[in-house]
Subunit: 436 residues, 4 copies
C-alpha cells in the first residue's frame, strides 16, 4: 500500500532515447545486454538512505528546507521513513540500497537500547526486502555525527570511544549479515585531525590498524562473506583524514597486512577533493587489486567541499565505467548514489527525477565504455604504445634479470638515444568523443 508521498506515480520505465517524459529512463534498460551481461547486473544501482531520507536539507549557513512526514525522533517516524524509502526503491526499480545505523532509527539512551532499536528496524527491512526483492548493497555505522565521535572513532584519544566504536561496528556488521548485505563499508569521517598540535599521528594510525584488523577477524569468525570496504576521503569534515585517497589506503592496508582482505569504495566527489580525477582513483585501485565499489556523485569543480550532486556529465561517466569494466566490473560492489538533492529541490518528484537522471547518465556512460572496449578503441593504441616492452631485452630488464651496470653498459655500447614518439592525446580524446 502506497504512502502517497510520491502521489499518483507509476514505476519508472525505460522509454528509449527519444522520450521526453521526465520520470522515464532514456538509457537505463535493466534487461538490455551489454558485453554479455544485463545492464542491471553491470551497474548494480543502489540508493543511499541517508541523503534521500535522513538529510533535512541543511548546510553550514542554513537549516532544514525539506518537509518530510517522517522527520521526527520516534520509531513510528522511522517506520514511515522505511515505507517511503522502499516505495522509492521500487518505483525506480533499483536492485540495492545502503544505510548507516543512524539513518534508519533514532538513537536511544544507551548503547544497548540503541542496538535494540536497530534490530527492530532491521526486521522491518528484512520483510520489505522479501516483499520487494530489493537487496542490501552494504551496511555501515555512522561514527562521525554524534559528539562522542567529534575527535574520531577508532582513532580517538579516548579508548572508551574506540570501544564504543568497536561495539557499534560489530552491531552493524551483524545487522548487515542478517540482511544479506554484500559489503560492509567504513568511512572514517572523523578518523583524522583538526590540528597536529593535539594529535599523535603514529598512535592514531596504530589504533586504526588494530581496529580494522579486529573487523576483518570478526567478519571471518562469523562467516560474513561480504567485502570489507574502506571509503577514502582527503578531508572534510576534518582538516585531514587518514584514508586520504586510494594510494594512501593501499599503504595503510599494506602496513597492517590487510591488502588482500579489504577493498575500496571510491567516491567521485572524494577523488576530486583529493586532487584526482574519478577515473584515476578507479584505475589505481584496479592496478593495486583493491577495487571494490563506487559511490556515485559529482563534485562541483569550483567548490572546495563535498557537494554530492547527482552525476550529469556523460563523457565523465563513460571514462569511469571504462575503468570499472577494465577492472572486470563489480563483483560484490555496485553503483551507490551517494548524491543528495540540492537543498532547494523540495518536491517529492525531485527525489525521483534526480535518481532517474543519474541512472540514465551512468547507463549511457556504461554503454559508451562497453563499445570502446569491444572496439579496442583505446586498448589497441595502448598496446601499440607499450609494444617495445615485448622484446626479450625489455622483458629481461623488467623481470629482474639485468643490473643497472649491465643496462648502462648496453646503453653505451649500442649508443642508445631514444626517439620520442607522439603521445597522441588529442587523437585519443577525439576517439572517446565518437562514443559519447
Amino acid at each position: 500500500m502506497s504512502t502517497g508521498f510520491f502521489g499518483d506515480i507509476k514505476p519508472v520505465k525505460y522509454e528509449g532515447p527519444d522520450s521526453d517524459n521526465p520520470p522515464a529512463y532514456r538509457f537505463y534498460n535493466p534487461d538490455e545486454v551489454v558485453m554479455g551481461k544485463r545492464m542491471e547486473d553491470h551497474l548494480r544501482f543502489s540508493v543511499a538512505y541517508w541523503h534521500s531520507f535522513a538529510w533535512p536539507g541543511g548546510d553550514p549557513f542554513g537549516g532544514q528546507t525539506f518537509e518530510r512526514p517522517w522527520f521526527g525522533d520516534s520509531m513510528e517516524h522511522a517506520r514511515l521513513k522505511a515505507d517511503v524509502a522502499f516505495e522509492m526503491f521500487t518505483l525506480l526499480g533499483v536492485p540495492f540500497y545502503c544505510f548507516h545505523d543512524a539513518d534508519v532509527r533514532p538513537e536511544d539512551a544507551t548503547f544497548a537500547e540503541s542496538a535494540a532499536r536497530l534490530d527492530e528496524i532491521a526486521e522491518v527491512f528484512a520483510a520489505k526486502q522479501r516483499e520487494t526483492g530489493v537487496k542490501l548493497l552494504w551496511g555501515t555505522a555512522n561514527l562521525f555525527s554524534h559528539r562522542r565521535f567529534m575527535a574520531g572513532a577508532a582513532t580517538n584519544p579516548d579508548p572508551d570511544v574506540f570501544a564504543y566504536a568497536a561495539a557499534t561496528v560489530k552491531k552493524c556488521i551483524d545487522v548487515t549479515k542478517t540482511l544479506g548485505g554484500q559489503n560492509y563499508v567504513l568511512w572514517g569521517g572523523r578518523e583524522g585531525y583538526e590540528t597536529l598540535l593535539n594529535t599523535d599521528l603514529k598512535h592514531e594510525q596504530e589504533q586504526a590498524g588494530r581496529f580494522l584488523s579486529m573487523v576483518v577477524d570478526y567478519k571471518h569468525r562469523i562467516g560474513f562473506d561480504g567485502t570489507i570496504l574502506i571509503e577514502p576521503k582527503p578531508q572534510e569534515p576534518t582538516k585531514h583524514q587518514y584514508d586520504y585517497d586510494v594510494a594512501t589506503v593501499y599503504g595503510f592496508l599494506k602496513k597492517f597486512g590487510l591488502e588482500k582482505e579489504v577493498k575500496v569504495n571510491i567516491e567521485q566527489g572524494h577523488a576530486i577533493l583529493a586532487g584526482h580525477s574519478f577515473e584515476h582513483e578507479l584505475a589505481l585501485a584496479a592496478a593495486l587489486d583493491i577495487f571494490g565499489s563506487i559511490d556515485m556523485n559529482r563534485n562541483d569543480y569550483q567548490s572546495g567541499w563535498d557537494t554530492d550532486q547527482f552525476p550529469n556529465n556523460v563523457p565523465e561517466m563513460a571514462l569511469a565505467y571504462y575503468q570499472v569494466l577494465q577492472a572486470g566490473g563489480f563483483t560484490t560492489g555496485g553503483t551507490n548514489f551517494d548524491a543528495k538533492l540540492r537543498r532547494q529541490s523540495l518536491d517529492p518528484q525531485d527525489l525521483l527525477i534526480a535518481h532517474v537522471g543519474g541512472m540514465d547518465c551512468c547507463a549511457r556512460g556504461l554503454k559508451a565504455a562497453a563499445k570502446m572496449i569491444e572496439d579496442k578503441a583505446l586498448s589497441g593504441p595502448l598496446e601499440e604504445r607499450y609494444a617495445g616492452w615485448n622484446s626479450a631485452e625489455a622483458q629481461a630488464m623488467l623481470k629482474s634479470e639485468r643490473t643497472l651496470e649491465q643496462i648502462a653498459e648496453r646503453v653505451v655500447k649500442e649508443g642508445i638515444e631514444p626517439k620520442p614518439r607522439s603521445g597522441r592525446q588529442e587523437y585519443l580524446e577525439n576517439i572517446v568523443n565518437r562514443y559519447v
Copy 2:
C-alpha cells in the same frame, strides 16, 4: 680568487637579532648550541645548484631575465659557474650543496660523451670541496627536462628510455659516491601521466618498482652508504605524478619491499600542492619511519603551481622543525634550499640575500621548536590527551588481546558512554605563539 660576481662582499656573519645589515645573519649562528647540538649540525643547510645557478628566470609566459656570465653551452661556462657557486657557498657559510647532472655541465652528443663531461666537472667539484670544506648533500639525475624523457624516464612506454634513465642514474650515483655525497635523490618529475587514455598504470608502476629496486641493489653493490631518497610531488609538470605524497610513496615502497631501503625528501611546496601542510608530511614520514631530508621553500598559498619561493614565515618554520626534531633530527639529510629567486630579482645581491633571509627564518624556527620541546609545551598536553590509553584494558585492545565481541560486551556491560573532552586547539595555538 674571487670571480668578482658578488662584488666587494665579505662572508656573511652572525650579527644578532638587532642587526639591520641585509647580508647578515640575525638568527643563524652556526656554532650556537641548541638542544645539545650546533645549529649548523641541526640545520645542515644546502644550496641547490639548479635554481641559483642554472635557472635563467623564465616562466611559462616569459623567457630569460637573469644575465649571468656563465650562461652558455661550453665547459668553460660550466667551470665559471662552479667558481661562482662555490664562492657563494663560502660567502654564505653553508656546509652543503646539491646538483643534477644537467645543472653542472652541458650535454654532449652521446651518452658516453655526456658522462665524460660529468666526470670532468666532478673533478672540479672535488677540488673545490677540498678547498672550501663544502660537502655534497646529495646528487641526482635530471630525468625530466630533455625531450627524450617527455613521457617519463623509468615509467616510459619505451624501454630504451628506461635503459637510458638507468644508465644515467648509475652514472650519477657513481659521481655522487665519488664526491662523498650523503644521499642520492630521485624526483620523478615525468614519472606520471598526462592522460590515462594513453597510460598503462599498472605496467608503469611495475617499471618504477623494478627501477628503484635496481638502484637500491646497485647502491649496496658498490658500497655507497648514502641514503636513497624519493621526493614526492603530486603533479606539475604532468597531470599526475606517481610519487604523489608521503603516504603514496610509502605504499609504493611497501609494494616493492623497499620501505627499509628508501626514505623521502619532503618539499614544502610539493606538500602544499598535494593538499597537505608541510608539517603533516614531515609528521607522517616520521610516523612511517621514512623521514629523510627536506627541500625547503614555500609555495604561494594562492597559486596552483610550484612557486619555489624562499621561506619567510617563521611560525610555519617552527612547526616544520618541531616535526624534524621530534623525528630525531636529520641523519644524512639536511635543509636544502630548493628555492628560486623571483624572476625580477636580477642582482647578484638578491641571490645572497634570499638565502640569508631563508636561513635566518629556518634558524629562528628551529630555535622556537627546540624551546617548545625542552619546555614540553606541546608534548605535555599531548601525553595528557592520550593518557587513557595507558590503562591495562586500553593496552589490551591495542595489543590484539581483545576481539570485537569482547569489546562490544564490555561496552554493554559497563554502560560505556564516552564523555567528550575539549581538544583545546586555540590554547595550543596560543602556546606556539609564545615561542615564535
Copy 3:
C-alpha cells in the same frame, strides 16, 4: 552579577610578552600609544555574537558539540545568552560587539512578532551597553539561514521574499540605529546561485542594486550616520555569490552609483576562498576608496571552505594591519572576530582563550606594521621604485597630455629600450621579518 559560566575568572589583563598565563594579554595593551593613537582605538576589537554564542558546534557531518545553558528557543534563553555575552565582552575588555537578528532572539510566528522580540532584546542590550560601556560595531540581518531565503533574499525569484528581506533589513537598521551601531553590514550569503540553469543573472543583479539603493535611501532618511558595508564572499553556501570579492563589489557599486555610499567589510577567510591574500583585498579596497571594516579570522589554506578560525599567524597580521594603517586606519570600522572555536573546544575557557590569542596576534601585527611605517621600511623602497614617474614626461603621459602616437614617436626618436631593475622581493621580505 556573574552568570558563573566562566567560573571564577578575573578580567583579562595585559601582562607583557613574558607572561605565560593563558588568559592574559602579552601584546594587547589597550592604552599603549602606537603611532599617536591608543591600541584600543586602532584595533577597535569586536566579538561576533553568532559564532561565540549562537553556533552549536555543528558541521556538515556532525551535530551540536557545545552544551550551553542558553541554548533553547525561549526569550529566557535569549536573555541568559545576553548576560553571558556581555560578561565575556567585559572580561575580555573589548569595546565592541556585533550581531544578526537571528542570533539574539528566537523567531516568532509572524514577522511582526519576531520584530517585537527583537525590540525586546534590544532593550536588554541597550541597558547592558550603558552598564558596561561596550558598544555596537554593527548590526546585520540574517537573510540566509531560514528556508524562506534558500533561493536568495534580495535576489530571490519570488518578490515576496524580496519584500520580506526589505522589511527585515529596515527593522535591523532601526535597531542598529537605536543601539548606536557604527555600521550596518550586508552579507549576501544566499545572494547568488546554485545553478545558472534556473537563474536570471541580470534580473537578480537588478534586484540587488535596487535593494541596496533603498537601504542607502532609508539610512539617509532616518539619519542613521553609520556606514553601510557589504561583505564580499565568493561562494559557500551557494556555488556563486554576487559579492564575490572587493573588485566585484566595486563594479556593482559603480553600476548602481553607490560607490560613495557603501564600503566593504573584508574577511580574511573570504579573501582566501576568492583566491586572494587578505592584504590584497585590503589594499584594493583602499585603492578604490571603499575600505570600511574587517572580519578577522583565518582560513585553513588546505581547506576549500570557510573555516573561520581565530587568527594565529603574526606575520600575516602584520601585513594586514600594514594595509589598514596605510589606508588611514579604521573610522567607523573595526576588527570583528568572525571566528569560531573549533567544535572540539568545548570549555568556557576555550572561548575566552581563543579571543585572547587572536587579539594578541592582531596587536602584535599592528605594532609591527606601525613600526614599519614609522621607519619607512617598505614605503622608502617603494617610492624609489616608482620615482621615474615623477619626471615631467612621465607625468604628462599619466595626466592625459600625450597620445599613443606621441609616445610611439618618442620611443622611436629616443631609441628607448628600458633596462629592467631588480624587484628585490626577497630583500623586502627579509625586511618584514625584522619587524615580526
Copy 4:
C-alpha cells in the same frame, strides 16, 4: 604550393556523425543552418598562431619537444611559418586566425627595426589573406615575454616601459587595421604583481586606466572599427593580475568610463583559474553588456595552472554556446582556439586532429544549445520561476517606486510569509542531457 609539412593530406571535410576518419568533421558543417545562420557564421572559428606555430613544447620543467622546420630566428623562418600556418588554416577551413607581434617575426635590435619586420610579415599575411580568404579575427601585442616587461607593461614602475608598451600597441593596432582585423585584444599577462611589498596598487591602476583610454582614443582617431577586447585572467604568470575576471574588468572599465568602449574576450581556462565556470563568465559579461569574444580551450580541473587544452567535453560546450547564443551570438568576436597541443603530441597530424576534435566539440555544443533555445527547454521554466515579478507591486518595487518603509509596512499588513518553491535543479540538468 604545399610546404609538405602535413604530408599528403586533403582539406578536412564534413562527413557526418558516423565517420570514423580522424581528420574529418562529424558535426562541424560550415554551411549547415542553425537558428537561421550558417554554422561557420555562428562559430567564427579562429586558430591561434602562438600555440600552434610559435610554442616549442616547453614547460617549467622541460624544454622544446616539437621539431618544426620554421623554428629559428630569421625572417626566412618567419615566412616558412606563415606558409605552414595558412596551409593549416586552409586545410581546416577555418575563417579566422589571430596573432601577437612576437609570434610572427623575430624581434630586431631596436623598436623601429622590430616594427619594420612586423610590417614586412604583415605584407606576407595580407597576400595570404587575399589568396586564401582567411581573415584576421584579432591582433594583439606580446607585452609579457620579453624581460623588459617582467614587471608589467602599462603598469610597470618604469615609465619607459609604459612608453615602450604604448608604442608597441600602437604599432600592433596599425597592423591589425591594415589586415582588416575585426578586434584588438589586450591580455595583461604581466599587468599585476608578484608581491604587494613592492607594488603601488593605486598608481598601477591609474597607469592601466590611462593606457587603455589612450588605446580607445587612438582607435577612434584612426578609424579602426574593430572592437577593443580585454582578456581577463586571475593569475599566472604573476601572483595577481589586475584583469582578474569579468566582474573585475567591468569595475575597472566603469572606473575609467570605458564600459561602452571595451568588451571582454573570455577564456575557459582563465575562468576556471578564477574559480568560475566558463558559462558564468559568459553569462555575466552578457548581463553587463560587455561580451565580446571567446578563447576556447579547457583547463584540467585538477591542475592549478593554465593547461590550455583543446575542448573535448560536449555538455560543457553546450552550456557555453547556450550563453553565447542567449547573448545574441558573436558580432565582431569569434571562437579562437587558444589551445595548445600536449607537448608529447609531436606529429604534424596531431596539430590538425586536435583542431578538428575541438571544432567538432564546439559544433556539437552549438547545435545542442540552439535546439534548447528553439524548444525553450530552459527559458520556459526560467520565465515561470520569475513570473512573480510581473505583478504590479513587484514591478513597483523594482522600478524605485517603493521605499523600504512602504515595503515593510506591506509585509506586516499583509502578513507576508513567503512559501519556498523547488528550484528543480536536477530536473533542469536532466533536460540538458536530452540535448547533448
